[in-house]
Amino acid sequence: MIGRRTLLRLIVCAVLVSGVAFGQNGGQLRFCLSSEPKTFDPLLVDDDASLTIRYLTGGVLSRVDRHTQELEPELAESWKISPDGKQITFKLRHGVRYSDGTPFSADDVAFTMKRLMDPALHSPVGDTFRTAGNAVTTKVIAPDQVSVTFPGPIVGLDRIFDELVIVSIHSPKKEAAVAGPFRVAEYKAGSSVLLERNPYYWKTDSQGRRMPYLDSIRLDIQPNRDVELLRFRRGELDLINTLDTDYFDRLAASSAPLVHDAGPSLDSDFMWFNQVATAPVPEYKRAWFRSSNFRRAVSQAINRADISRIVYNGHAQPAIGPVSPSNKLWFNSSLKAEPQNPQAALERLKADGFHLQNGSLIDKNGNPVEFSIVTNAGSKPRERMGVLIQEDLSKIGIKVNLVTLDFPSLIERITQKFNYEAAILGFRNVDLDPNGQMNIWMSSAENHAWNPQQKSPETAWEAEIDKLMRAQAETSDQKKRKQNFDRVQEIVYQQAPFIYLVNPNALSAISTSVAGANPGILYPQTFWNAERLTLTGTARASR
């Protein structure tokens, strides 16, 4: 027989459990952006903060499920790809409206495609769509049917639409009208971005409840990760999408249920040299940076195992190339991480006329080898990587000046003014497929960081990469695609335009007040299903 007190305890427990396990509608989710969003135009997104806002607000025709990695219908109910792989026809969802109530139709898709392909827009997303050439045509067949035709076949054609947010042609709010789960309600420069529930969002759950469940998401602009962690521990934030390793370990020690290590991510940290012909860099330095021997020697001088162990406390593995080894399908397993070998690096440099003189490396014209590496201020891992690299390169006589810059200045330098010598940054890979990297590897691409937007490939190896990337994108033969992309990885390994350093593990922290989260390795790790996230009773009531 159950006593009254026991029964009361059971009832209290049941109420608590139901409150914890099953969140309800409403409440405000809070997390941080690491920098100011550069743009709210979904077609111009090129930075993490804008990418987050685009993901949470933009409506796309189809979306890769970050957990199953399968493609799911969104604004398009279904689609059909022509046998030659050049055309895709979408059947659009009925009754969808933008956040200001403007109806969604095939005209919006045509308008978006036209805008995307406009060369004057310089859309980074557009690079992915230009792989077979610029002559992409869009035809509105009916208000709910539209076809997009490419000049050549594109493999994984449907998957490239995951990144393309459909903007409205008719809405007076232009790109501020969105068809995603949230819309931008308020933006305070330097402080926060407030997203509120899109009242016209089309998605409902299996019980017919309208999504998203949350009322709003508050994104605080906070470049300082220490402050972000402190606020998370205080309960002011609900999640940290990517967690630094030292904080991960500390949090794991005190509150293990809050942290999640999803294993090696698809992301990578890397370093590169500025090879832009018109960059304000001394000619003799440009000659170093354009030499594959110099780049490979620098790569050989770096101790990646130490970076993994010291900077990431072992929560990373030495990187090999553009594909993380965790991407089993596309990784070229014949390549191995470059081991540190200062002697081999010096031998390689000798081939280009470099020599050591009183411990300093001197080029064939007598110039001492010294360059600066820029990285973003506030990122401790990158600052520490820079210091380790500084020490590693001093062993082969290279003097490195490490400079940390605020993020907007850094981006301006590396994408517009090209006023830098070398940089350390990271890539967030959102797609397993090589087509997702078209906007990096094509020599004409905006994100071809070491020498972007080339009219024609300036080197033979870049021309070969262009050819191979196009070839893999135009065939549906999986074996041929793999061969082509394996070769791309080999060239990148040999030429080292990017010196890959480490693949960090996907580490995140999620408060117990958030229900429905299922962190994975694909970006965005923790809030990929934001429309399904809920807050528990206590958290909801406090906001």
């Binding site: 300082n224 220490d226 020490e391 810059l405």
Partner: protein, 268 residues
Amino acid sequence: MKAARWVACVVVAAVCALSFGANWLAPDGYAKQFREAPGAPPSRAHLLGTDEIGRDRFARVLYGTRISLLLAPAAAFVSSALAALIGGLAGYLGGIWLKLSRAFTDLFLSLPWLFLLITVRALLPLNVSPLVSVLITFLILGLLGWAASARVLSTSADAARNSDFVLQARASGLHGPRLFLVHVLPNLMPVLTAQFWISIPVFILGEANLGVLGLGVAEPLPSWGSLLRELEGMISFREEPWRLVPLFLLIVVMTSFQLLLSNEEVTA
């Protein structure tokens, strides 16, 4: 009080001696990375443990103290001199000069320094050695930090201008720069000295904050500012109390300076 001043004197002398003896006390230097022991606790080999990338914290504190003890007062001297020139002179001249000086000071104080500093950083070359970067940082701090002190000094100089002793000096035929240098400036010295000492910790912390903009002391050179930045990641002081040594040192040295200052004031 006399004993406290003696203690302060000994503390400052000891800290100065330790920092200037860094080459002998920490022969491995501030940049050597002991990669097998990152984030190590204090030991015989590393008296204050190592930082996150394995550099000896004791060595970094000694060298950082040397840099900050030399350059923060230098920056404070520059800013105090500017404050005396702008605020003191305007207060002494009075009238339109005083109004103009206050308007200019107010305008200077209201400028969005963050954006201006970002612009300054953008104008600086990237390839500068850490030593040059530290000199630039403190020079900028010195050139920009005069406004608040100038406001205080202009008020004091204004009061001095109308004081009996200046009127008497005027009546005895003393004018112009000589009157300012002989009668007004010495009376501004206590205020100016106080402003000078107040500026030092402000500049040390300012340098630490500038690091976020890429204007701070460049790696691998240490400074009190960069050492204090390490505390950003501290969740609990109990876990690694030895990491608080730079903060403790800053407090002790600044308190000692203040005690010595009060001595000077008493003497004056």
